[in-house]
């Protein structure tokens, strides 16, 4: 089974090489060397979904409360990332608990979640959530240049065609969570400089 897939892949990459040679000829770029070693490119939302799952694994979670045997990941304004995560959901477990995915739109729904992911531009929502959830063991993850300033503990950044992340120790402590040193080691600590978004604020 694995072998067949590998052969299929090789066939595809052969066709890909041909296509690339054609581009080069068409465009007059005239060099096919680049066609070798085609790097795999993934949709950013799929990578973000995988990151969400990984993050949860590096956090020391308090034991599950009685009556809640599921680990709840909630998304706010990030439907595409939720779609990607949904696909893999049945196979996942976090802290030995099956994973449930919820798409939420109000602060009240936050209480049942262990991890909440905010899509880009949801700064005011994140600020409200951060204020409302202080002291609760909830990991707030954002995908916005100013995520950490608005109170998230982990913020994703697109850098050089890769998804990286930054961590706020203050926010982790505020929610009584601890991240493993391995997670910290992979973080890019980038603070947002004064920009127009920062200054003018955003709508709710």
């Amino acid at each position: 089974m694995r072998k067949t897939r590998a052969i299929e892949r090789r066939g595809r990459s052969g066709r890909a090489v041909l296509r690339r040679i054609l581009y080069c000829l068409l465009l007059g770029a005239g060099a096919a060397a680049g066609a070798a070693a085609a790097a795999q490119v993934y949709p950013a939302d799929a990578v973000k979904a995988a990151f969400l799952y990984r993050f949860a694994g590096f956090i020391a979670w308090p034991p599950a409360e009685a009556g809640n045997s599921r680990f709840v990941i909630a998304t706010w304004g990030a439907d595409h990332v939720a779609d990607e995560l949904q696909r893999d959901l049945p196979t996942l477990s976090i802290a030995n608990r099956p994973v449930e995915l919820r798409r939420i739109h109000d602060v009240r729904s936050l209480a049942q979640a262990q991890l909440v992911f905010f899509g880009p531009g949801h700064r005011a929502e994140l600020r409200r959530a951060s204020a409302a959830m202080a002291g609760s063991p909830v990991l707030l993850v954002s995908d916005d240049e100013y995520g950490l300033e608005d109170g998230s503990a982990i913020n994703m950044l697109a850098i050089e065609r890769r998804i990286r992340f930054e961590i706020s120790m203050t926010a982790l402590q505020r929610n009584g969570l601890k991240a493993s040193s391995e997670l910290l080691a992979h973080a890019v600590r980038v603070q947002a400089p004064g920009t127009i978004v920062n200054q003018l604020g955003t709508s709710p």
């Binding site: 795999q40 490119v41 993934y42 799929a46 990984r54 880009p120 600590r189 604020g201």
Partner: protein
């Protein structure tokens, strides 16, 4: 007139031909797009990746619909790092051509006029584009001497720019005086992101450049980079085709250090530069300068505090009998953002700036006095209130004390309504001023031994009140757009007045023009396919200016600016597989009214080839449709011809 019409038909035919040449690639690209994101690997492979593997996975370009700037209640266009790299721009003014809400006019090899919502100025009236502010990493590069921006004094390694935010409309409450029509905010990348070695070499028929940057993380909290860049620009041609002899070259070096602790962070950065510019028949002029800026930030629950200080030196030496100057700027600023409860975000701040200069007068253009030390202070406050889940109100005011006109109040009120998560409607009312400068007050222009034109000691700030309504939305994940309609009322605009009703000379500056402008700015971003993005945009501008009663009315209202009424652009970005990118941009600028200049359409095209993870090669052509075009009338404007540049970039 007929000749112009025929030419524009030809332009159309050529444009079509180039698009036809590109179109057959679509089918190949579509196949490539299919293999990219979801094809080869089953999706659950990714979810099993380690954190390290995930951090190294290459992702396809995210859609612009997810840009957080879309939720700001103002007309802001963001030129991203990706946009800059993909445009192949070698200088900041060329990168600014990517913003639809800017008008970028190249006059000579080194001189650009960049304006927003009109008022690009008129060189015959000694009127310059003086109603926009530009900041580079928080440092103002607006010249306090003549009001305006020396674009030849600003440069960066283009790869180190994180983003350029172009705000049209008054931005005075937060950024201060002179942001009457807008703000250009250039933000460079944090040293954490540039922790690699970059080497760039570019060779073209007009520009050639080399840049090197070395960056590293010293530990998990600190990172730094150093860089150097040299660039040489060939001379343009005069309108008769002869060599304008205005070639110039520039070198710059700089460094940046970032430290980031758990709750605070600091940045120290600086640059030094020098340029030599030839001028036909008069030898060469030079510019030189340097700056150091330090910023310290502290984030605690509910508060962001920032302190910033900088020192800047700017020198210009003109050839032969020209004006030369040395200007030192010292600036300190404090700013704090506070969250009160869950509804209020309050920002307050203040600052003090000292401009100390010494001017070497020429025999025909003098500043009296030729040295001054000017201090400019300000305080401001702004509150952003989330009225409920859908409505936000932002109100703010800045008080600024300028050395010539005293205290000025610059208020700003904005309301934003988000009827759904996919749509924002906003409205604003704001006021801003352009403060008087030594050029308005101290200048003396001589005609032989006689005073021809003098500054005006009672010169008042130029004023504007602007009202805007805007829409910003992303009806689907693949499509986003923004549109803004504005109406501005100007008063006290600078004019040239006679000595008295009976005596003509000496002329002096006055504040006797007023009027209004209105128009529209709109742009969209359409991710047509995973590998193809189209970005159309256009701007419209109408100006209705007139003189106050009693004004001399010399030169006519056109002295305020010779601005195009319409600009339009269509950009296309294609990823033809993981190694090949094709970017094209078609740009239209309508005719200039007075002095008259025909409209033009131009095309640029860039092919970028990623040879390996470390090396890229690109070929960039601009102004491809015509042998040459002009962006301003002669003698100020010069011919701009076809450009081609081959660039190689290594990242280690």
């Amino acid at each position: 007139m007929l000749a112009i019409k025929q030419r524009s038909k030809l332009k159309g035919a050529r444009t079509a031909a180039i698009w036809l040449a590109i179109l057959p690639l679509r089918s190949f690209g579509a196949a490539a797009g299919g293999e990219l994101p979801n094809g080869d690997e089953p999706p659950n492979d990714l979810i099993r990746y380690s954190i390290d593997e995930l951090a190294n996975v290459e992702v396809s370009t995210p859609s612009k619909a997810s840009d957080p700037i879309r939720r700001v209640a103002a007309s802001v266009y963001v030129i991203t790092h990706e946009d800059i790299v993909r445009s192949g721009a070698v200088s900041i003014p060329e990168a600014l051509r990517l913003a639809p809400n800017l008008s970028v006019v190249q006059n000579s090899a080194s001189s650009y006029v960049i304006s927003m919502r009109g008022f690009g100025g008129n060189p015959d009236a000694q009127n310059f584009s003086n109603k926009i502010l530009m900041l580079v990493d928080g440092r103002s590069v607006y010249s306090p001497l003549f009001s305006g921006i020396y674009h030849d004094a600003q440069d960066l390694v283009m790869d180190d720019i994180e983003r350029i935010e172009v705000l049209s409309g008054p931005g005075a409450t937060l950024w201060g005086a002179n942001a009457m029509n807008g703000v250009i905010n250039i933000v460079t990348r944090s040293a954490y992101v540039t922790d690699s070695t970059l080497l760039k070499l570019a060779e073209g028929n007009v520009d050639r450049s080399a840049a090197v940057r070395y960056g590293a993380k010293s530990d998990s909290d600190t990172a730094w980079r150093v860089y150097g860049k040299v660039i040489a620009h060939s001379a343009l041609e005069l309108s008769d085709g002869s060599n304008a002899q205005d070639d110039w070259s520039r070198s710059q070096a700089g460094a940046r250090y970032d430290w980031s602790g758990a709750t605070s962070g600091a940045t120290v950065q600086g640059d030094v530069y020098r340029a030599v510019q030839s001028q036909a028949g008069t030898g060469s002029g030079s510019i030189a300068g340097g700056n150091v800026i330090g910023r310290w930030r502290r984030h605690t629950a509910g508060s962001d505090l920032q302190l910033q200080a900088y020192v800047d030196e700017t020198q210009r030496a003109a050839p032969a009998d020209g004006v030369a100057f040395v200007l030192h700027t010292y600036d300190v600023e404090i700013q704090q953002r506070l969250a009160f409860g869950t509804r209020h975000t309050f920002i307050w701040g203040g600052g003090e700036r000292i401009n100390s200069y010494s001017i070497h007068n020429s025999s025909t253009l003098l500043f009296e006095p030729d040295e001054r030390q000017l201090s400019l202070g300000n305080v401001f406050a702004q509150d952003n209130i989330a009225l409920d889940d859908r409505w936000t109100l932002t109100g703010g005011i800045k008080f600024e004390d300028d050395p010539f006109s005293g205290w000025n109040a610059q208020p700003d009120l904005r309301v934003n309504w988000a009827p759904s998560d996919r749509m924002d409607l906003w409205a604003s009312a704001s006021r801003a001023v352009r403060s008087p400068t030594p050029f308005d007050v101290d200048v003396v222009e001589k005609l032989g031994t006689m005073n021809f034109l003098t500054g005006y000691s009672l010169f008042r700030p130029e004023r504007v009140s602007t009202y805007e309504v805007g829409y910003r939305g992303h009806p689907s994940e693949r499509f986003s757009m923004a549109a803004t309609v504005f109406y501005s009322e100007y008063s006290d605009l600078r004019t040239i007045e006679t000595a008295s009703d009976a005596v003509f000379l000496p002329l002096h500056w006055g504040n006797r023009m007023r009027g209004n402008t209105y128009g529209m700015e709109a742009w969209a971003d359409w991710q047509l396919l995973d590998w193809w993005r189209l970005s159309p945009s256009f701007t419209l501008l109408r100006k209705r200016l007139h003189y106050d009663s009693g004004a001399a009315g010399l030169l006519g209202v056109a002295e305020a600016g010779d601005d195009p009424s319409t600009q339009a652009m269509l950009k296309s970005s294609m990823d033809l597989g993981p190694h090949l990118a094709l970017d094209t941009s078609l740009h239209y600028v309508s005719a200039l009214p007075e002095p008259a200049l025909p409209s033009y359409v131009e095309l640029s095209l860039r092919i970028g080839w990623r040879v390996s993870g470390h090396c890229d090669i690109s070929l960039n052509g601009s102004n491809l449709l015509h042998d040459h075009h002009m962006e301003f009338t002669a003698p100020t404007g010069e011919r701009i011809g076809r450009k081609a540049i081959l660039e190689a970039r290594w990242r280690l």
